[in-house]
């Protein structure tokens, strides 16, 4: 049940090979290939409708792929259901905050931590007796400066706080790779800067793959960038090169 592949042995923690998704006549993702090594920080950018979130849905198992492969540490996980990929080290956040609004901050994190434990099937003992899970939850919340709000219901947090908590919940799954779908979505510039700082402080052993439009976060956090356009990777490379690429500017300005 527990599949813990922490030591990759030189394998990419996540690899996509010719990953494609077609919805009827629409080819949303076309032959995307990329590799992420442990500890990498990569970003995917592209105009709206480029297929970025669809790509994330393929990687995290929400949509079945039309063709191509998703591999984790060399294992073909393309046909695996989402919960199995999480058990293998993948975590994901959503562009539209996907927390449990009526539960408290602490309850959200506890559920997330328990998701990777076989004790999630225990029925004869209250959750409150699991000291280690509570300790871990408090540790995570402390690291994100959320401890003081541990007993607040999530729906009463501000949007910016919820975006941050969304990431904390992702981290609670102990991922080797964390997929972040527009973490700065809906944030003001001040909150953006704070989010960038928050992401930079994350454990270096956790690989990050993020979708983002926000320039602050992009160039502060990501070392490599892949550009998606009409479902295809049109360019990829170190962040600085992409930044000054005329092709990328054309894509964003609509002339590409």
């Amino acid at each position: 049940m527990s599949e813990q592949p922490r030591t990759g042995g030189g394998q990419p923690v996540l690899e996509l090979r010719g990953l494609s998704k077609t919805f009827g006549g629409l080819r949303a993702v076309r032959g995307v290939s990329l590799a992420i090594m442990p500890g990498d920080r990569k970003a995917i950018i592209g105009p709206n409708g480029a297929g970025k979130t669809t790509l994330f849905n393929l990687i995290s198992g929400i949509f079945p792929a039309s063709s191509g492969q998703v591999l984790m540490y060399g294992r073909d996980v393309t046909s695996w259901p989402s919960h199995r990929r999480t058990a293998f080290g993948m975590a994901r956040t959503f562009q539209v905050t996907s927390l449990f609004p009526k539960l408290t901050v602490l309850d959200n994190v506890l559920l997330a931590i328990k998701g990777r434990r076989t004790s999630k099937f225990v029925m004869w003992r209250p959750l409150s007796t699991y000291r280690d899970v509570y300790d871990k939850a408090r540790h995570l919340l402390h690291g994100a400066a959320f401890l003081d709000r541990a007993n607040t219901e999530v729906r009463y947090l501000s949007h910016g706080e919820q975006r941050q908590l969304e990431i904390v919940v992702g981290l609670a799954s102990d991922p080797d790779i964390l997929l972040l779908d527009e973490p700065a979505a809906g944030l003001s510039s001040g909150e953006s800067a704070e989010m960038a700082r928050f992401l930079q402080k994350l454990d270096r052993r956790t690989a990050l793959l993020l979708i983002e439009h926000d320039m602050d976060i992009l160039f502060d956090v990501a070392s490599d960038i892949a550009v998606l356009h009409f479902g295809e990777v049109v360019e990829s490379g170190p962040a600085e090169r992409i930044r000054s690429s005329t092709k990328v500017q054309e894509i964003y300005l609509g002339t590409g």
């Binding site: 919960h83 999480t86 994901r92 927390l99 539960l103 559920l111 029925m123 799954s173």
Partner: protein
């Protein structure tokens, strides 16, 4: 005191009040409360599915039915579960409820939302239909007359107060089990699934499996509620005997039932005499649950009732301690009309029975 703690105190206080007060009320209230407590176990199982997991299952009564019929059939046909083996009936009923839920769950859980609701409704109706039609097993819409309650570890449950305490104890135990269950990691995962199932999948939960297990557990508690709900009350025999010093005969039952029927009709008219025609019409339309069993009239105003084949046995019955000579029912023919299995038209065409045309000359 937190709001959770004050709720717990309130519930415990109410339950304690029920346990203390109800035994001092009359027969009717005691039996009503007993049935309510048994039914409440079913209700709590529905809450686990609907309230905590967000699964609107409309077929949960099927599990009460399974438990109840199992108890009644084992008691009347196989004389099983009438003694210290009653606990075994409880275990079997919970098992049957769980197995049925495991089977139904495979169909129902292929859908979600409204479609899940419709499938569970259909499955529940299948069980109802089966119970209704399988006359030889379940007695159809007349049901099975459970004439006695078991003796449970030496405790005689014929006493309605004792039975009340047993059901109350099982209810309290069930409540406690479910209280821990909804606070357990598994219970909390059900809440998460209700709130955002996709999120739970991404967090590593096999949500189908969690929902399926919850469905099975609800079925098991449904079966339990059925076992406690089934044992009927047979107060009439005991109260008659204690009042008149002898056991009611056919004539006493007849008179009692006639009086009961007159009473029923007069209740309908609010105590006012409705005139002869209306009175006859109302009486002919009655469906009565008499001590002899269910009773109604056909369109020729002849009685439709159960026919019992009996055997005289020296045994303990109706909760009495000493074995006595009783007519013990060995087979029930439910709902026998004046024509029974002979078609009405065919029967009416035949001549009146006489020496030349005896009743069984043309028996099949």
């Amino acid at each position: 005191m937190t709001s959770v703690q004050s709720k717990v105190v309130a519930v415990v206080a109410v339950l304690a009040a029920v346990a203390v007060v109800v035994p001092h009320t009359g027969s009717f209230v005691i039996l009503l409360t007993t049935r309510a407590l048994a039914f409440s176990i079913l209700v709590m199982s529905v809450d686990i599915l609907l309230g905590f997991t967000g699964l609107a299952s409309m077929g949960q009564a099927a599990y009460l039915g399974i438990g109840a019929y199992l108890t009644a059939i084992l008691a009347t046909r196989y004389h099983f579960g009438l003694g210290d083996d009653f606990w075994l009936v409880i275990v079997l009923a919970m098992l049957c409820g769980a197995v049925l839920a495991a089977f139904f769950g495979l169909f129902a859980m292929r859908a979600s939302g409204v479609y899940f609701l419709m499938i569970t409704l259909a499955l529940g109706q299948c069980v109802w239909g089966l119970a209704y039609r399988w006359n030889s097993l379940t007695g159809g819409d007349n049901g099975i007359n459970l004439s006695q309650r078991p003796r449970f570890f030496g405790i005689d449950l014929a006493n309605e107060v004792t039975f009340f305490y047993l059901v109350f104890a099982i209810f309290a135990a069930s409540l406690l089990v479910m209280y821990v269950f909804v606070r357990s990691p598994f219970g909390r995962s059900l809440v998460g699934i209700r709130e955002r199932e996709l999120r739970m999948k991404i967090l590593g939960y096999n949500t189908w499996l969690h929902k399926y297990i919850a469905f099975i557990i609800a079925g098991a508690f449904g079966g339990l509620s059925g076992v406690l709900w089934a044992p009927a009350n047979e107060a009439v025999v005991k109260s008659y005997r204690s009042k008149y010093g002898k056991v009611p005969s056919y004539f006493s039952e007849s008179n009692y039932t006639t009086a009961m029927m007159i009473d029923d009709v007069m209740k309908q008219t609010g105590g006012k005499w409705p005139g002869a025609e209306a009175f006859i019409a109302k009486m002919a339309a009655l469906h009565v649950d008499a001590p002899r069993g269910p009773l109604s009239f056909d369109d020729m105003r002849n009685v439709v009732q159960n026919v019992y084949i009996k055997k005289v046995e020296k045994t303990k019955l109706f909760g009495y301690d000493k074995p006595e000579l009783w007519d013990v029912v060995i087979k029930t023919y439910p709902n026998v009309s004046q024509f029974w299995t002979y078609g009405k038209d065919a029967f009416l065409k035949q001549p009146v029975y006489s020496r030349d045309f005896p009743p069984c000359k043309f028996c099949e």
